[in-house]
Symmetry: C2
Subunit: 338 residues, 2 copies
C-alpha cells in the first residue's frame, strides 16, 4: 500500500504521535518574548564544561534526558535516536547520545534538521520499525559563530540581515497513543537561487520554504486556512516577508496564520539579534517549547511545521558557491481524522 | 504489525530490493586489486574542477547519474535521495544532488553512511513511502586529508596503523522487483572504547563492528555460516584482526567468510596505504562495484554488509575526546525467503 500523495508528500496511516517533548535554551533565549515557555534556561553558556563544543554536547545530553522523563520512558524503551546539529561531523549529536545506548541514526539538514528528524521518526514508526523513537536537534551560538564566522573575541560587526544562532535543543519522542498526531510529511528538494551572502540566509531559504509549502498544499489539496499555524523554521524578519510574498504570488495567502521561529524567539530590536534567530536549535526549541505545549493544551489544533536549512559550508562559500536551501514540512494535528 | 527482532534489528516484510547500483573511483583505487570491478575510474583527481571539494561534488553527480541509468529510471521516478559524505556540512552530497530535483534527506554516519542510507532506504520503501529511493555515499582522499589531517603539500608521515581515504562514490537504487533483497537491518549504538589516536581508526571501530554483528546474530538467531560474506566497512588490516578476535571471544568465528572493504580495495604493501582504505566511499564503492555484481551474477547469495564509522572531528580530538564508533549492518540476499 502506498502512502504517497502527489510528488513530495506522504500520509501516515497508523496514527503516530508525539508522546513527549522538551526544550532547553540559553540565557538570551530565556530573556526573549517566549522565554517562559521553555523547560529550562541555562544561564552558563559553558554549561559547566571547558569548551562551547562540550557545552553543546551537554545540551544534547540534557535534552535526551528531559524528553525521556517527559515521555515517561527510559532509554531501553527507545528503538532509535535520530539526531543532528551544526557542528562539523555532527559531534554534539553523537557525543550527546554516547551514554544513551540507543541505536543511533545521524542526520544533517542544517536548520531543517528537526523537521527531517520528525519525518524519519514518523516514517520509522508508521512503517512498523519502532515503538519509541527520539528526534532531537540543537545548536549553540558560540560554537556556531566560531565555526562559521569569526572568533567571538574578534567582535565582527553584523549586517542587519544577519541572524543569531540559537543556543538551544529540542527533543521529541515519537510513538503511539499520544494526542498530537503526525499526519503528513512533505520532503523538500534542494533549491538554489544563486544567493551568495552568508549573512542573508533568510533570503536564501525563503524560496525553499515557499516551494515545499506550495508542494504540500498541492499534494494534499489543503489550503492555508486549514492550519491554525504555519510555521517556518528560521527565515527571520527579512526571509519571513519574502516567504509570504512568494506564496502570495503562487496564489496562497498564508499571512493570517503564519509565523517564523526565528522571529518569535527574540525581540530583535531590544536583543540586538538583527533579522532573528537561526540554527537547528531555533525551530527545534520553538516547536518543543512553545508550539507542542499549546497543541497539548488545546489552544491550537493544526500546525504545519516547516523547518528550513541552508546547505553550505564556509569552504563552499569561499569557493564561490551559492547557498543551497531546503525545507521540510511536517503536518501536526490534535485530531487524527484530519 | 511490528517488524522488530530483538533489540536492534528489523526484518523487512514487503521484499524491498536493490534495483540498480554503481561505483566510480579514483586512479589509485582503479589500480588496486579489485580495480577492474568499478563502473569507471577517474584519472584526474580534480575531475575537471578547480578544487577537491568541487571534484567530490562531481563524483556525487556522476554517481547519481550512473545509478539512475543502471536502474533504468529517471530522477522524476525517485521519491527520495539519501546522501552523506565526510566534508564539513556534508556539502558534496548536497551540491551533488542540487540539479537532481529529488526530495533530499541528508545523513551523517561517517564511514558507516552507506549502511545507514541503505537501512533508511529499505525502511522508507518497506513502510510504503517510496517506490524508488537512492542511497549514495562517497569521499575524496584529497578533500578529506586536507580537512581532517594536514595540507597535502606538507607531506606528513603516516603511521602504520593509519588508513587511506578512498576517492570514490557508491550509489544504490532501492525499490521493488529486483533480485537482491534487503532482508534485515541491525542499527548500531554509539560505542566508546577510549581510543584517542585518530591514526588508529580501525582499533576504535572494531568493537562497534563486533557489537553490531553480535546483536545481529542474537536478534535473528543466525550464525556466521549463514552468510557467504560478512563484510566490515573499513576497519583495515589492524581493525580486521581485532574484529575477528572480539567476535571469537563472543563465540562467533567469522574468519571463514569475513572480509573488510578497506583491506580489499588496496594492495596495502604495494600501494603504500598502510592499514587499508577508509572513508564513506570505501564501503560504498566496494559494495556497489564488487559485492552487488557478484550477487547479481549468482556467485554469492547471502551478505552481511556492516559499515563502520568513527564519530569524531578534529575539534573533538583536539579537545581530548575519544573516538566514538558505530556500525550498522544490512543483510542482503538473492533469496527472498531467507
Amino acid at each position: 500500500m502506498t502512502k504517497r500523495l502527489g510528488t513530495q508528500t506522504v500520509a501516515f496511516t497508523t496514527f503516530p504521535t508525539i508522546n513527549g517533548y522538551g526544550a532547553i535554551v540559553g540565557k538570551k533565549e530565556g530573556e526573549g518574548p517566549i522565554g517562559d515557555c521553555f523547560d529550562s534556561v541555562e544561564d552558563d553558556e559553558f554549561l559547566g564544561e571547558a569548551t562551547w563544543e562540550k557545552a553543546e554536547t551537554r545540551l544534547f545530553e540534557k535534552g535526551l534526558a528531559l524528553v525521556l522523563k517527559k515521555a515517561k520512558i527510559t532509554s531501553s524503551d527507545v528503538n532509535y535516536v535520530i539526531a543532528g546539529d551544526l557542528l562539523n561531523q555532527c559531534t554534539a549529536s553523537a557525543f550527546g547520545a554516547r551514554e544513551s545506548g540507543i541505536p543511533y541514526l545521524g542526520i544533517y539538514g542544517a536548520c531543517s534538521t528537526m523537521a527531517e528528524g520528525l519525518t524519519l521518526a514518523a516514517m520509522i514508526t508508521d512503517g512498523g520499525f519502532s515503538e519509541n523513537c527520539i528526534a532531537v536537534a540543537g545548536s549553540h551560538f558560540c560554537s556556531a559563530e566560531k565555526q562559521y564566522r569569526f572568533p567571538l573575541e574578534y567582535g565582527g560587526q553584523r549586517p542587519p540581515s544577519s541572524q543569531w544562532t540559537v543556543t538551544g535543543v529540542g527533543a521529541t519522542a515519537v510513538g503511539y497513543g499520544g494526542n498530537i498526531y503526525i499526519t503528513h510529511a512533505t520532503t523538500g528538494k534542494i533549491e538554489d537561487y544563486g544567493i551568495t551572502d552568508a549573512n542573508n540566509m533568510g533570503a536564501a531559504m525563503a524560496p525553499a520554504f515557499a516551494s515545499t509549502v506550495k508542494a504540500h498544499f498541492e499534494d494534499t489539496g489543503r489550503k492555508p486556512s486549514d492550519y491554525d499555524l504555519i510555521l517556518s523554521g528560521d527565515l527571520g524578519k527579512i526571509g519571513k516577508g519574502i516567504a509570504a510574498e512568494l506564496l502570495e504570488n503562487e496564489g496562497y495567502d498564508i499571512r493570517e496564520n503564519y509565523n517564523d521561529c526565528g522571529v518569535m524567539i527574540f525581540d530583535c530590536g531590544k536583543q540586538d539579534t538583527h533579522s532573528g534567530g537561526s540554527g537547528c536549535g531555533c525551530s527545534a526549541s520553538v516547536l518543543c517549547g512553545y508550539v507542542l505545549p499549546k497543541m497539548q493544551a488545546g489552544e491550537i489544533k493544526n500546525v504545519l511545521f516547516t523547518a528550513t536549512g541552508a546547505l553550505m559550508s564556509p569552504t563552499t562559500s569561499q569557493q564561490g558557491e551559492s547557498i543551497l536551501a531546503i525545507a521540510h514540512a511536517v503536518a501536526l494535528s490534535t485530531d487524527c481524522n484530519v
